[in-house]
């Protein structure tokens, strides 16, 4: 709550709105005890007195009634009616929305069609029609305003509820013996409440305005009773000759609606969690680079990273997602990066082409050299010309790279034409060729398909075809098969393997599956807490893991063909990368840890073709890990 208020008042305008609103509410509250003349006493002799006349601070209206007194009681009334209308609309609308969204099916269908019908009428016409049917009067105006706002709430809240009703915690509540009513009140309602509050705080201002509008037309409050709308309506005749009679209520309406809307927007922004992380600020086209020193770039490898460091700065916290990673990959070679969730695999991959979201991401050290050229210092234009052209990416979810509204053929053609001008006809022929290259049967027909017309495996083939479109030198594949079924995974893996042989491609393959690494990769790097802990030829590492983490991790994974057995778990969790321990990051979980392990940073020690970041590496001849 305190956090919420902090967030709310960090927004100056919301603070201003809140201040103004509190002031208006206070005045409205104490109006009955203020020494003011009766707002409804007429004194025709004193009509149209100007502001600041004696006894009438704001002057008088066409019947000689005190304007200040009428203004304050009018404000009270308008606020009360507006708030009442908003509450009624919120309660009825939200209840309809929750019930429709939760029950779904036919009930939902019927309710929402009715709501749609209400929404099909122009807003103000509907309000007028309701008042016309019920007869003029403040209560009827209130009903009309509430009624026309019900559909807005019903639609919004239904949308949110549908999402929640399919959540697994609702199923769990059912299995734990809760009835539908109990589920609505204790599981659904607390989760939609923030949305209801947002919807209400952003519409209440308009509802006050609408009530005033009806009164202005003489359909709301009836004389002599004053609300802000009827005051304006009565002053209309004297608009030119005695403008103060309309200016006074006008300003009040303006202040009320304004302050409520400023506050309402503030509330919405403070509740919306997307704003909390600052994520709504648009990311830059390339990751920010803030390197203290720039190491020299070696030029002998196709793609190599040296001591790459990428961090996320969120508020006070610094997440060291990549803490000094060095890697290299050459033509026709496949390098695997393996590690658990959060170990920094994806951030490493995205850093290569400056694709880490900035802010909050930052490259703070190291180099990425591609054919001898440092990409970390490169301009956005240079990066853009390489992205998708020389270095291409394949991601886990093909739908995130494919546009749903274009055919796959068009998307392939666009990928080619983004980098060089290719005549349309050649591009079309090439698109078919690419689909054939990724073994999509009947490619000539398939180019005309939209992504949603294909299966998950097909779509991933298309994203591989996209990556191949410009004959890149390097493909970075971030868990491209994790979301696929095993039978499809096997096909995609063997496809990637064939492609690299045929085209001499360099592949960086990110995965968490040792089986996949073993089958596809020539070399493998094991990551833990943002660093490489072990690196070398795949076969050597799998046969004889030397870092305790690698060894334990391999023991965790059941392998097909082993029968029923107990698995060797690693107790504990990896450290959070914003609170890395001194010394070895694995020390808290390592059975060989000694005092020295916790003292200083540990280097990745090269030993022939391999390298290990450990003071006491496990030797091949050492006894099995005791558990």
């Amino acid at each position: 709550m305190i956090q919420f208020l902090n967030l709310l008042f960090r927004n100056r305008l919301a603070g201003l709105g809140a201040g103004m609103l509190v002031l208006i509410l206070l005045i409205a509250l104490i109006t009955p005890v203020l020494p003011l003349p009766d707002p409804n006493i007429t004194a025709t002799a004193d009509r149209f007195m100007s502001p600041f006349s004696e006894g009438h601070l704001l002057g008088t209206d066409h019947l000689g009634r005190d304007l200040l007194s009428r203004l304050l009681s009018g404000t009270r009334l308008s606020l009360a009616v507006g708030v009442a209308a908003a509450l009624i609309a919120t309660v009825i609308g939200s209840s309809i929305g929750i019930v429709a969204g939760f029950l779904g099916g036919r009930t939902d269908n019927i309710i929402m069609r009715l709501v749609d019908m209400l929404m099909a009428f122009p807003y103000i016409l509907l309000a007028l029609a309701i008042v016309a049917a019920l007869g003029p009067g403040l209560n009827n105006a209130l009903i009309a305003v509430a009624a026309v706002n019900v559909p807005f709430f019903a639609r919004n809240i239904r949308g949110v509820t549908v999402g929640l009703a399919n959540k697994e915690f609702v199923d769990a509540a059912r299995l734990n013996g809760m009835s539908n009513g109990q589920i609505i009140f204790s599981e659904i309602l607390p989760n939609v409440l923030p949305v209801i509050v947002i919807a209400m705080s952003t519409t209440i201002g308009w509802m006050i305005l609408e009530t005033a509008g009806l009164s202005f037309l003489g359909l709301g409050s009836q004389p002599p009773q004053a609300d802000l709308g009827s005051m304006l309506g009565e002053a209309r005749a004297a608009l030119i000759t005695f403008p103060h009679t309309s200016v006074v209520p006008g300003i009040m309406i303006f202040l009320i609606v304004m302050s409520i809307n400023l506050l309402g927007d503030g509330v919405r922004d403070a509740i919306d969690p997307r704003l909390k992380s600052g994520a709504l600020s648009r990311p830059l086209p390339a990751t920010i680079v803030e390197r203290k020193e720039v190491p020299p770039t070696p030029d002998k490898d196709l793609l190599s990273l040296q001591e790459l460091r990428t961090e996320f700065h969120v508020g006070e916290r610094v997440y060291k997602a990549v803490g000094g990673v060095s890697l290299k990959v050459n033509k026709g070679e496949c390098l695997g990066i393996i590690g658990e969730s959060g170990s920094g695999k994806s951030v490493t991959a995205l850093s290569v082409m400056g694709l880490v979201a900035s802010p909050p991401g930052k490259i703070v050290g190291g180099t990425v050299s591609f054919q001898g050229k440092d990409l970390v210092g490169a301009s956005y234009n240079e990066l853009r010309s390489l992205r998708g052209d020389r270095v291409a990416y394949i991601f886990q979810d093909p739908l995130s790279t494919l546009h749903p509204l274009y055919t796959v053929g068009d998307q392939l053609i666009e990928a080619m034409q983004a980098h060089r001008s290719v005549p349309q006809k050649d591009a079309q022929a090439r698109a078919v060729e690419l689909l054939e290259a990724v073994r999509i049967p009947n490619a000539a027909q398939r180019v005309k398909n939209y992504p949603h017309e294909m299966s998950g495996g097909m779509r991933q083939r298309v994203s591989i075809a996209m990556a191949l479109a410009n004959e890149p030198d390097v493909i970075i594949a971030d868990e491209p098969t994790t979301a696929l079924d095993v039978t499809v995974q096997a096909q995609i893996l063997s496809l990637l393997n064939d492609l690299r042989r045929e085209r001499d491609l360099a592949i960086v393959f990110i995965t968490h599956d040792f089986g996949v690494v073993a089958q596809l990769c020539d070399r493998v790097a094991v990551m833990y807490a943002g660093q490489i802990v072990e690196e070398g030829p795949t076969a050597a590492i799998l046969d004889d893991p030397q870092h305790p983490y690698t060894k334990r991790l391999m023991a965790c994974v059941p392998e097909l063909g082993g029968g029923k057995r107990e698995l060797h778990a690693i107790a504990g969790l990896p450290p959070a990368v914003d609170q890395l321990p001194q010394g070895c990051a694995f020390a808290a979980r390592c059975e060989f840890a000694q005092e020295v392990c916790r003292q200083g940073g540990i280097m990745l020690e090269p030993k022939g073709e391999r390298a290990v970041r450990c003071l006491f590496p496990v030797n091949a001849d050492q006894i099995e890990v005791t558990l």
Binding site: R174, P190, N191, A518, L520, G561, A569
Partner: protein, 317 residues
């Protein structure tokens, strides 16, 4: 004794239904019959869309079946409410975080089954929660926290603790570790094994990871396109697969030391559920298919001790 018996269980979803017209029927589960013995772990594998979750949701009563019979501990459950099901059979969900209500504390989450299913008083509930938390290795200080403060592995333990609180003897574990990291996955699997011994539980373990299923199950059931294509002992079903589809699955799993080569199959498309084939649903992908496969849908037949497969040309040896 069988903990669970299922006979001819079928689920047909209607798709494209509007207010005025009846939709088309999609058979997500097609006449499945099987039983789970008391204290057994039955693994269920199959690819996405083969009906694993639909089957599981019917077994716990979250989804009404279209046809067929479910018998839990000898009693037919035809009109049972989720509440009655809940005392006999519980569910552990795939996504641990989204199975916990973000606006409730862990204590509130744990109390629900104790209060609603067993009508326990406050003191009794507190005692029971302490016992359960101790058995799943969770600290009691977690009880006052909210779900978002937990890692996936911890959240999954809480989900398991909640299922234990219902005191059901049968647990359906629907991909309970697929959202977890391998090191945490092993922790949760070992915990499940301990709990099973300690409380004499029966598990239905659903997963797409063959190695995990093999490691935890006594018997394994392979589903394809809404039917059981093979069921048998865990140590034989992948090694001596009888059904071509099981063999394809086993050969597709990446295994250290096996060269990379996609196993042979004709296509990779699943049959169209709106227009199911009349013969064997696997025929379009099967390299062993013969003429009879196109016309007659094979039934499950015994092909070894406790080993059944539905295939006209089973693999021998």
């Amino acid at each position: 004794m069988n903990a669970l018996e299922v006979k001819d269980l079928t689920k047909t979803f209607e798709v494209g239904k509007t207010l005025f017209s009846r939709g088309l029927g999609v058979k997500a589960v097609r006449r499945m019959s099987f039983e789970v013995r008391d204290g057994e772990t039955l693994g269920i594998v199959g690819e996405s869309g083969c009906g694993k979750s639909t089957l599981a949701r019917m077994l716990v009563g979250l989804l009404p079946s279209t046809e067929g019979e479910i018998k839990i501990e000898g009693k037919v459950q035809d009109k049972a409410s989720p509440r009655e099901f809940g005392q006999m059979i519980q569910y552990v969900f795939q996504d641990p975080i989204s199975s916990l209500n973000p606006r409730k504390t862990i204590r509130q989450i744990m109390e629900t089954p104790l209060k609603r299913l067993h009508g326990m008083g406050k003191a009794e509930r507190d005692k029971r929660i302490s016992e359960i938390f101790a058995s799943v290795n969770l600290r009691e200080e977690f009880l006052s926290r909210y779900p978002h403060e937990f890692s996936g592995g911890q959240a999954q333990r809480i989900g398991i603790a909640r299922a234990l609180a219902a005191a059901a003897r049968i647990l359906i574990l629907d991909e309970p570790v697929s959202a977890l990291d391998v090191s945490v996955q092993a922790q949760v699997l070992n915990l499940l094994a301990d709990l099973k011994l300690k409380f004499g539980l029966t598990y239905l373990f659903i997963s797409h990871d063959l190695a995990v299923v093999e490691a935890v199950s006594d018997r394994v059931m392979v589903l394809y396109f809404g039917t059981i294509v093979e069921v048998g002992p865990a140590d034989a079903i992948f090694k001596q697969a009888k059904h071509p589809y099981t063999k394809l699955l086993a050969n597709s799993a990446p295994v250290v030391g096996r060269p990379l080569e996609a196993p042979k199959q004709k296509g990779d498309e699943l049959p169209d559920p709106l227009n199911p084939p009349s013969g064997c649903p696997f025929a379009k992908r099967c390299i062993y298919a013969t003429e009879i496969c196109e016309t007659i849908d094979p039934a499950l037949m015994e092909m070894g001790e406790g080993h059944f497969a539905a295939c006209h040309n089973p693999i021998r040896g």
